[in-house]
């Protein structure tokens, strides 16, 4: 059994209340940080821990904190990004529902480290129950003296607010989130300037994912060096994985980074294999935005070594044979799933969620969706496949925010790895509506798959 840091006490009854949380060691880290450490020492601990942003990009959190501009007389803000909307990712919601105090404790320490006296938790509008839970937890913490004026008699003041969003995926992009938080239309800003220089209301701001903030608690409790011992290489610590799809036991798992993917899928300790005795066809390893991989490349690297659940190992081989850890939304597809349909579904999502600010994403996502719809429903042409690759290429990298890339990658990777399935949809349109392509050679050993994946 791997080590649990965030979900250690998840099964303790009443852990969502302050009393039970405190009995299980909660708010120890706040006391330690506020009473014994300076803000810079907290940042130093987080740097030592090697914690990387859990929201998707994997940028080192300590580094992000140290970039924060600290001009005199200007307020600084700490914002928690709880606008979790990536298809296939539901870890933050789980964490906020069951252990809201872990997030609040993390927020207090992070805000202290950054010198922010007002902090916000921006929660997606659909998560109304979680907003209520957080608000109740904040009230509890305030009564106990962990929030408000002069916390624990240290002279540090912090007000923490929960802000419901409108439910747009784009507001998970940090600058769009800040715009939305300011009460404007949630359009991403053009960077630079980065939020660390001019963020919320033009003041220096740090935006972190829920899980990154919660992970600060064990880092302060045990020390950054201790945290860095968990994991592998530059992927330190534990990560929440939202496992979904055709698995025997889908759900949220806390893994130590570096766990082999094969073990994660098939071990009874984790997902317990593919449901209904079927075989694995493909996976999306980090939420809908990352490239989809066939089974053979999911389990093994191109050179035959086992693939691990870590930032580096999942992206090994670049986009030709690799993917990304992303936000940890692990979706497994069994042999009966249609990759074309799934790609269409993803691209329908991005079409719906594009903010419409910059032209490649606004027009390109809709175009890809329409072409994929045509392919899926048997009206496709062979030239559509290359058209999709070209449109995806024209979107990728040419947009203001990463939503354009996120829309292009699943399409480009699906065609890269599953081109024969797309071709089958064109050649056998009637059949493709009734049956599906099946497993084909996607689970066969790598050496053979190499031919189909070359691009």
């Amino acid at each position: 059994m791997g080590r649990k840091l965030l979900l250690e006490h998840i099964n303790v009854p009443g852990i969502n209340t302050l009393d039970v949380y405190r009995q299980n060691g909660g708010y120890r880290a706040v006391e330690k940080a506020l009473k014994n450490l300076t803000p810079d020492e907290v940042v130093e601990e987080v740097k030592k821990s090697g914690l990387r942003g859990r929201g998707g990009a994997g940028f080192p959190t300590g580094m992000k904190w140290s970039f924060l501009a600290k001009p005199e007389g200007v307020a600084r803000y700490m914002v928690c990004n709880a606008d979790e909307s990536e298809p296939g990712t539901f870890k933050d919601r789980y964490l906020m529902t069951h252990i809201p105090h872990a997030l609040i404790e993390g927020m207090i320490i992070s805000s202290f480290a950054l010198g922010a006296s007002t902090s916000y938790i921006y929660v997606r509008g659909e998560m109304m129950p979680q907003i209520r839970i957080l608000e109740r937890a904040i009230a509890e913490a305030k009564n106990a003296g962990f929030l408000g004026k002069n916390i624990l008699g240290t002279g540090y003041d912090l007000e923490l607010y929960v802000q419901p969003g409108g439910g747009a995926y784009i507001c998970g992009e940090e600058t769009a989130l800040l715009e939305s938080l300011e009460g404007k239309r949630g359009n991403p800003r053009i960077k630079p300037p980065f939020p660390a220089i001019a963020g919320l209301y033009g003041c220096p701001t740090v935006v972190n994912n829920v899980e990154s903030i919660a992970a600060v608690v064990p880092i302060i409790n045990d020390g950054g060096e201790e945290y860095a011992k968990i994991g592998i290489g530059r992927s330190t610590g534990t990560k929440l994985i939202s496992a979904s799809g055709n698995l025997v036991r889908p759900g949220v798992y806390e893994i130590e980074l570096g766990l082999p993917v094969e073990e994660f899928i098939y071990s009874d300790e984790w997902c317990g294999g593919i449901a209904n005795g079927k075989r694995l066809k493909a996976t999306v390893a980090g939420g809908s935005s990352v490239p989809v991989l066939p089974a053979n490349l999911t389990l093994k690297l191109a050179n035959g070594e086992p693939r691990l659940m870590s930032y580096e190992s999942l992206s090994e081989g670049g986009f030709a044979t690799g993917t990304m850890l992303g936000s940890g939304g692990f979706i497994a597809f069994d042999e009966d799933q249609c990759i074309v349909r799934n790609t269409w579904n993803f691209s329908r999502f991005y079409h719906h969620e594009s903010c419409g600010q910059c032209s490649p994403c606004r027009e390109g996502t809709g175009w890809m969706e329409k072409v994929l719809h045509r392919l899926e429903y048997g009206h496709g042409k062979m030239s559509d496949i290359d058209l999709l690759v070209n449109v995806a290429k024209n979107i990728e990298g040419n947009t203001i925010c990463p939503l354009g890339d996120a829309a292009a990658w699943p399409v480009a990777s699906a065609i890269r790895h599953f081109r024969d399935e797309f071709e089958w949809h064109v050649n056998e349109p009637a059949k493709a509506l009734k049956t599906n392509y099946g497993l084909a050679n996607y689970a066969e050993p790598i050496a053979k798959a190499e031919v189909t994946t070359g691009n």
Partner: protein, 334 residues
Amino acid sequence: MSDKVKVTIDGITVEVAPGTSILNAARQIGGDIVPPAMCYYSKLEGSGGKCRTCIVKVSKGSEKDPRPMPKLVASCRTTVMDGMEVQNITSPEVIEARSGVVEMLLINHPLDCPVCDQAGECDLQNLGYEHGLQKTRYEFERRTFDRIDIGDKIQLHMNRCILCYRCVFTADQITNKRVHGILNRGDHSEISTYILAAVDNDFSGNVIDVCPVGALTDKTFRFRNRVWFTKPIDAHRDCPTCSGKVTLWYKGDDVLRVTARKDIYGEVEEFICNTCRFDKKKTSDWVIEHPTHISDASVIASNHYETLKPLPVIQNNPQLQQANKVELEKTAKF
């Protein structure tokens, strides 16, 4: 440390003030290396970065940090660094990406240029001509909207809009009450007013001038004439609300429309008020200055014999040649 930074664009070095964008540095050089801009408008704060046609490649970040930038960047919103090297038309990657963007801009555009009032002075038309493909690869129904009147002088034809946000910034920045903006999201977002409220203030007509396409048109000019049949003349009047410096567009003896004066990048020099634009359409209202200079590349320049051949009397007379030197050099350029 000098207060100027050096930047090289397509092999041409220029010194500009720190904080200048790559696009504006390129405009200081001028010529073919200036990236096209559909949404950036130097007079409007916060504009730019949206259309992505001005993307360029930064092959060297700066003198201190010579690493190239990983992606193509929007030149209108990227500031120059000392020693930066930029590739625009010399980079095939940029040309390809830009034609991709142009294709994206055109897939939902109705391409109704034959009946569009903007034809002939349309930035998108020029851009499509320079970069676009001959054929579209888009085989689906284009999105359509109903035409709406915003006020009694302006019509909004959303089908043609490329969502550059220029009119939104204009309405926001040069007029004191903002009544129009963007509704909805993604490819069904539209420019609109709040529940069909009329845009009614002294400077609302400027949204017509800033529109790079034919989405916002002047109802006093709609379908009156093709722009290339009209003759632009610079004129001014004493206006209590604006500078009164305008361009009059003549057909015969009639002033068909009045617009603000535009520079070579299609940006207005000074915003004008609605009285000048919509109500003063008689020659007697204006003090005529001179014919407006129109770029020879523009279709409006056809039949404007600006590149004059010296008259026979001048050709034989060195004194007259000297006196007309400026004009003759202009001729020699071609």
